[in-house]
């Protein structure tokens, strides 16, 4: 059963998206409330971070819902899940999903094939951000917290959702890692930014098409977050807490700004990108479903599944390729190029001068 292609009024889209945004924000609030054991483990000093996260959740929910309301997006989104959850294929699909996620997200092989510097930049920034997010969100939501052990001041205990998970001595190897994990993340991000700017500064193609708001502002934000974060460590360990309060406020401002920017700018691709995995399933299902043949040359040119879905997307978008005489969507890309050139050729022929190279 093909999933429906929805066409709705813009107002209805916005109302729907606001509802989705509110639901996402509510989920985060509930997550904070229950995850921090009714706010018992919630650190009030981190309220600005938690607040910005709630706003970001609203923005992301809104934008994601708006994005899904576009006919092609909605169709492929539903199609991907439908194919993924097909009961007969589900076990194999789960294994396949794990492999695809490893190749595309953990190793990011496809970016490596685009360019090495791009891959280095992206990989470092990605893992730096993942590491930082894995620590800071649970911390500021009160999902994890640390306490000194009641029996010994030299032991630290880590709690997740109020459950004691592990403890370590302050002089153990683990301690500096735990306390400095955000510095490691910051250094990774800064390394990535270095490669990104190196590439962007030299690549004439990138120089021509990059835009400040889209391509450089995100790097500037990540740079600000990382550097101000490192300042905090420097202040604590090297400068005996010099200006710590000001620096921590500065750091908070950069983080909050980045969180608020998350749904609107380039960072939204983090949430869009997993659709790539859905498309991989879609292509496989298409290959198994039989091919559509060009009505002009008779050669197969795409999966019948894809062409059928595309026709429905086109009709939802008001693209009127279908006529009583036939559907232009049934013409393969090569025959489209030929048809256009031949149409011009026919005009010159009927004009009575033939194509007449060099005569015009």
């Amino acid at each position: 059963m093909p999933p429906p292609v929805r066409v709705t009024a813009r107002g209805a889209d916005a109302a729907h998206a606001i509802a989705a945004g509110l639901a996402a924000a509510a989920l985060v609030i509930l997550g904070i409330y229950f995850g921090s054991r009714h706010l018992r483990d919630f650190d009030v000093a981190l309220v600005p971070y938690a607040g910005a996260s709630v706003f970001a959740a609203f923005g992301l929910g809104y934008r994601y819902a708006m994005w899904l309301r576009r006919p092609p997006t909605g169709l492929y989104w539903r199609r991907s899940w439908q194919l993924f959850f097909a009961p007969r294929h589900l076990p194999a699909n789960i294994v396949r999903l794990a492999r695809l996620a490893f190749d595309n997200f953990l190793a990011q092989k496809f970016i490596g094939r685009r360019a090495v510097k791009r891959w280095l930049a992206h990989w470092c920034i990605f893992w730096g951000c993942v590491l930082a997010a894995a620590v800071t969100f649970p911390l500021s939501f009160g999902w994890i917290h640390f306490e000194t052990a009641p029996a010994s001041l030299a032991r630290y205990q880590a709690f997740v959702f109020g459950v004691h998970v592990f403890s370590f001595r302050l002089d153990s190897v683990l301690a500096p890692l735990v306390f400095n994990v955000l510095d490691v993340a910051a250094l990774l991000v800064l390394t990535g930014i270095f490669f990104a700017l190196w590439r962007r500064g030299l690549d004439r193609g990138a120089l021509a098409v990059q835009q400040f708001a889209n391509d450089l502002l995100p790097l500037a934000l990540l740079f600000a977050v990382s550097v101000t974060g490192l300042f905090l460590t420097a202040s604590t360990h090297l400068l005996r807490g010099y200006d710590f309060v000001f620096l921590s406020q500065l750091h908070a401002v950069t983080v909050i700004f980045t969180l608020l920017y998350l749904p609107f700018g380039k960072f939204f691709h983090i949430f869009q990108r997993p659709a790539q995995l859905g498309i991989a399933f879609y292509k496989e299902a298409g290959a198994a479903s039989g091919q559509a043949t060009c009505r002009r040359c008779g050669a197969p040119f795409a999966s019948a599944l894809h062409v059928g879905d595309l026709k429905r997307v086109e009709s939802a978008l008001g693209i009127r390729y279908a006529t009583a005489a036939g559907d232009y969507q049934d013409v393969c890309p090569r025959c489209r190029r030929l048809s256009v050139a031949l149409a011009q050729d026919a005009l010159w022929r009927t004009h009575g001068r033939g194509p007449g190279k060099g005569t015009r």
Binding site: W67, R70, P72, T73, L75, Y76, F110, R114, R204, G205, L207, A208, V209, K266, H269, Q272, R273, Q276, I279, R295, R296, G298, A302, H306, V307, L310, V313, E314, L317, I319, R320, Y321, A322, G326, D327, Y328, V331, C332, P333, R334, C335, R336, R337, L338, S339, V340, A341, L342, A343, Q344, D345, L347, W348, H351, P355, G356, K357, G358, T359, R360
Partner: protein, 207 residues
């Protein structure tokens, strides 16, 4: 004031020299990958070769059908190649573009298309292909230069099936041609009856 230059395409002038194909791969926004299409039109249809660049539609179908919202237009109406962070490689644009322009590259899982050499045209230079095309089948000139040097007229309105399209790139057609060109893609590439496509004698007999 220098009149703004526009892109004119005249398939009939193409001599099939492949210069544009080579030059396209030198473009800085997609170095090493040639994105222009140079079709050898079957002898049965015509003796022609035809280059195809992106026509930079005003309301591009490629962008409308893109689920990832990866195809953007610059304020001056140039339809850019896919945004790398966004394109999920679904090939919707490849199949939907009325002119058959976008290409999908499986190894990098991304679509790329002609962006009118944005690195060059945005700084007043001509696109690579139009710079090297010896017959000026691909020409980046002012309307005034066009009128002075060409016998035909230039149109940029099309209808594919029932779908109207207006493009930034112009097609050169005979004078007094109506301004709208209808394309159905209905003409069969397969001649009727048993026919060996490699049999040149049979083509000639068919006229």
């Amino acid at each position: 004031m220098i009149e703004e230059r526009a892109f004119f395409i005249d398939y009939a002038r193409c001599i099939g020299c492949q210069s544009c194909v080579q030059a396209c791969a030198e473009c800085d926004t997609h170095r090493g990958r040639s994105l222009i299409h140079l079709e050898t039109i079957d002898r049965h249809d015509s003796v022609q070769t035809a280059p195809q660049v992106c026509m930079h539609c005003e309301n591009p179908v490629c962008a409308q059908v893109c689920p990832a919202d990866a195809i953007k237009q610059t304020p001056d109406g140039v339809v850019q190649s896919s945004l790398k962070p966004r394109c999920i490689g679904c090939s919707n644009c490849v199949l939907a573009c009325p002119f058959g322009v976008p290409r999908y590259f499986g190894e990098i899982d991304q679509m790329m298309k002609c962006d009118m050499c944005y690195d060059r045209t945005s700084t007043g230079k001509r696109p690579m292909c139009a710079t090297v095309c010896p017959s000026q089948a691909l020409a980046f000139i002012t309307l005034d230069e066009f009128r002075r040097t060409r016998g035909g007229t230039a149109i940029n309105e099309w209808r594919f099936g029932d779908h109207p399209v207006r493009t930034k790139v112009y097609l050169v057609v005979p004078p007094e041609t109506p301004p709208l060109l209808q394309i159905q893609g209905l003409g069969s590439a397969r001649p009727s009856g048993a026919f060996d496509r490699n049999d040149v004698a049979a083509w000639l007999e068919q006229g």
